[in-house]
């Protein structure tokens, strides 16, 4: 949609100035370490903001969690604490974070602090308290299908994050349709990895799609690979033509 009318454009600018995304420059941008991806987002995702990550289906929850953690690991300096907020029910459903597994993904487990709330409401309280703590680097909030995390609640979280500079990554259920004040919304699915010799599964592959972005980036789909040596995203190494990845790339192009 083009801003045909000057007053409409002015109004839009005023609304933008009111929103939390307006001052996204204050805390800098979170780069993915992959130029093709950063370019589409105008340099990266805003730090000190709330971003939502949704799995494409229930079975992709682990991939979504991995994506959120990867962003969290890139959000601050290498020694900052990453808080993982979860609830008993979520940990039962998706399993508990596993230290050695985090280490193998290049996400230092000694940076992580794990808070398990007994229920949804307590979890949101913890989330809002932790976003007010400027000493944190990032917070991964596993909210699942939490109904209470609505527009008002997410706006509150966004304001807290903007004030403190903590980057918040909210993990939601795959079928969440609740509106939110998040700066961006991602849908994540597992992508077939590039197999290693001997038909062994290779590096973590993710199929990302940007669903919504407050800064005005257009929605897109992209397949990426996580390079845990550099703690950065990279393009999948195409050793042989993989149908699914090829499909992905044609969509991108």
């Amino acid at each position: 949609m083009t801003d045909s009318h000057p007053s409409l454009a002015r109004l839009k600018r005023r609304i933008d100035a009111l929103g939390p995304a307006a001052s996204s420059g204050r805390w800098g941008l979170l780069s993915f370490g992959l130029e093709a991806l950063d370019a589409r987002l105008g340099g990266g995702l805003a730090k000190g903001a709330v971003h939502e990550v949704l799995p494409a289906s229930g079975l992709d929850a682990a991939s979504a969690a991995a994506f959120a953690l990867m962003l969290a690991a890139r959000a601050g300096d290498v020694s900052g604490t990453i808080l993982w907020v979860s609830t008993d029910a979520e940990l039962r459903r998706h399993g508990a974070p596993y230290g050695p597994g985090l280490a193998e993904l290049g996400l230092a487990p000694d940076r992580m602090m794990l808070v398990t709330a007994p229920d949804e409401l307590a979890g949101l309280k913890v989330a809002s308290d932790s976003l007010a703590c400027a000493g944190l680097c990032a917070a991964v909030i596993e909210a699942g299908a939490a109904k209470r995390l609505d527009l008002t609640a997410s706006r509150r979280l966004a304001l807290a994050a903007e004030k403190s500079g903590v980057t918040a990554l909210i993990l939601r259920g795959s079928d969440t349709m609740i509106a939110s004040a998040a700066a961006s919304r991602w849908q994540v699915a597992a992508a077939p990895s590039v197999p290693l010799p001997g038909q062994a599964p290779g590096r973590t592959g993710l199929s990302l799609s940007l669903v919504r972005h407050r800064g005005g980036a257009r929605p897109f789909d992209m397949c990426v690979e996580w390079d845990h040596d550099r703690t950065a995203f990279s393009e999948p190494a195409l050793l042989r033509p993989v149908p699914a990845v090829a499909e992905c790339r044609s969509m991108v192009a």
């Binding site: 079975l59 992709d60 929850a61 682990a62 991939s63 969690a65 991995a66 994506f67 953690l69 990867m70 604490t81 808080l83 998706h94 399993g95 508990a96 974070p97 596993y98 230290g99 050695p100 597994g101 985090l102 280490a103 193998e104 993904l105 290049g106 996400l107 230092a108 487990p109 000694d110 992580m112 602090m113 794990l114 808070v115 398990t116 709330a117 007994p118 307590a122 309280k125 913890v126 308290d129 932790s130 703590c133 400027a134 000493g135 944190l136 699915a189 597992a190 077939p192 990895s193 290693l196 038909q199 062994a200 599964p201 973590t204 592959g205 993710l206 199929s207 845990h228 040596d229 699914a244």
Partner: protein
């Protein structure tokens, strides 16, 4: 059925412990009997001991019906020893107790005097302070000699006591004047040890129920206070007082325990802990407030609190820290404060960090411990160029799955989990992990064969076969242990 205990009235009517209940009923038809409940008695004794905490921090139980209080250095708070005893007696007698109190230089002497030399103080009788100077004290004073006490006061086994009596030694005075070596030879070394303790020659300190705190601050009220905000204000005063004392000593505390003594004898205990030693009064007070908010049943002042105390169990050295010019605190400090706050609110067990485990069993190799606990942090060393070998999320317990494999001891081809079928397109394995047979008595335990698998959609799972096919188990089960990102 036998009589276990009697009150003073029953005693005066000729009833005694050890009688048959039927005989007692025959003598005094209107006797009231309640079943003996040793557990309830023990609870009552615990509750009274808790309440006696207001007189001295070191209280020891002397079951089934005694308490030993070490009042060294506490008496001046009540004027003198007599003041303390009269306050204690008045309080417990108000609660319907029949007491025998004795003061002595050593715990064993006091115990012997109280159990064998004192006079019963009647329930409900108040002792006015001005009566303390009369001949009849409400307690046995320390100056009383133990010579006239029976040898039973030594608290020896039944047959030893009988042996002493048979030898004509009925009073402690008879024993005290005799040489000890023949006594030990004839009646056992314990008799001599006990004698020395009861005579006050040897002083063995009591082992208090709770270790006396390093620092303790209290406010006593003439009238019980029932308003919660006043209680909080008082607590804040005590915390400030404690912080000032800690600052003077160059120390800090990790635990802060507040005890609210209700006038009816109930004691409410609130305690908070911090990850790092602190003497910041505002922080401690915030944590207390957080603690009070999360109480399952809110503070019930009832008829009011008459004593509020703050204990700091351990004071550890804490250097003065300098803040930045712009009053910024270090990020690590802020995170520690957040962890304290969340720990007080949710319970320490819900705020955790990863720790390294010395084991090759996956669930023991990486586990979490409360954020407070000192840990060996899990080192992060991904193998360069290798894909992740361990999953991001682990199920505890592992989830059972139906697996189709080409051969029973071969890799999986297809599996069914949570009512969905996954076709395996890539796999790596088996990674064989043996059970910790050296920790088990039978030397057994099933071996696990782990496979890293990827399904047609690209989702990666960690499966294992529990037991070696044929040699360990005829039909091994398969489990899903974790999910890769």
């Amino acid at each position: 059925m036998r009589v276990m205990a009697v009150d003073e009235v029953a005693l005066s009517l000729g009833l005694a412990p050890g009688m048959m209940l039927a005989d007692a009923r025959a003598r005094v038809p209107e006797v009231q009997a309640v079943p003996h409940d040793p557990e309830a008695d023990a609870h009552l004794l615990e509750a009274i001991a808790e309440d006696c905490d207001r007189y001295t921090p070191s209280v020891a139980l002397d079951p089934p019906d005694g308490l030993i209080l070490d009042i060294t250095g506490c008496a001046h708070l009540w004027g003198d020893e007599a003041g303390l005893v009269s306050a204690l007696v008045a309080r417990l007698a108000d609660g319907g107790m029949t007491l025998r109190v004795a003061l002595a230089e050593t715990p064993d002497k006091a115990r012997a005097l109280a159990r064998h030399g004192g006079e019963l103080l009647r329930a409900g009788r108040r002792i006015a302070p001005d009566r303390l100077n009369e001949a009849r004290l409400p307690y046995v004073p320390a100056s009383v000699s133990v010579d006239h006490l029976p040898v039973a006061a030594l608290g020896l086994a039944e047959e030893r006591t009988t042996a002493l009596k048979r030898a004509g030694l009925t009073l402690l005075g008879d024993l005290a004047s005799r040489p000890r070596v023949p006594l030990a030879a004839r009646f056992g070394p314990e008799a001599v040890t006990r004698l020395a303790r009861v005579l006050g020659e040897e002083d063995v300190r009591i082992t208090p129920r709770r270790t006396p705190p390093a620092l303790s601050f209290a406010r006593r009220f003439a009238e019980p206070v029932a308003r919660t905000d006043f209680v909080l204000t008082t607590l804040a005063d005590l915390v400030r007082e404690g912080a000032a004392e800690l600052a003077r000593r160059g120390a800090g505390g990790r635990d802060f325990a507040s005890r609210l003594f209700r006038s009816d004898g109930t004691v409410h205990a609130l305690s908070i802990g911090t990850g790092q030693a602190t003497r910041d009064a505002d922080l401690v007070m915030r944590l207390f407030q957080e603690r009070i908010e999360t109480l399952a049943d809110p503070l019930d002042p009832g008829f009011g609190y008459d004593l509020i105390r703050l204990d700091i169990p351990v004071a550890e050295p804490l250097a003065v820290t300098q803040t930045d010019l712009d009053r910024n605190t270090a990020p690590a400090r802020e995170v520690a404060l957040l962890a304290d706050r969340l720990g007080v609110r949710l319970g320490q067990g819900r705020v955790r960090r990863f720790a390294a485990g010395d084991s090759h069993i996956p669930e023991c190799a990486g586990f979490t411990v409360p954020a407070h606990a000192p840990v060996l942090p899990l080192a992060s060393h991904p193998t360069p160029g290798e894909p992740p070998m361990r999953p991001l999320r682990l199920f505890d317990p592992p989830q059972i799955v139906d697996v189709i494999a080409e051969v029973p001891d071969g890799p999986p081809r297809r599996f069914r989990w949570r009512r969905q079928t996954h076709d395996i397109t890539a796999f790596e394995g088996p990674e064989r992990i043996a059970a910790e047979w050296w920790k088990r008595k039978d030397g057994g335990g099933l071996t696990r064969d782990y496979y890293r698998v990827e399904d047609s959609q690209g989702r990666r799972f960690w499966l294992f076969r529990h037991g070696l096919y044929g040699s360990e188990k005829p039909n091994p089960d398969w489990y899903l242990h974790g999910l890769f990102g």
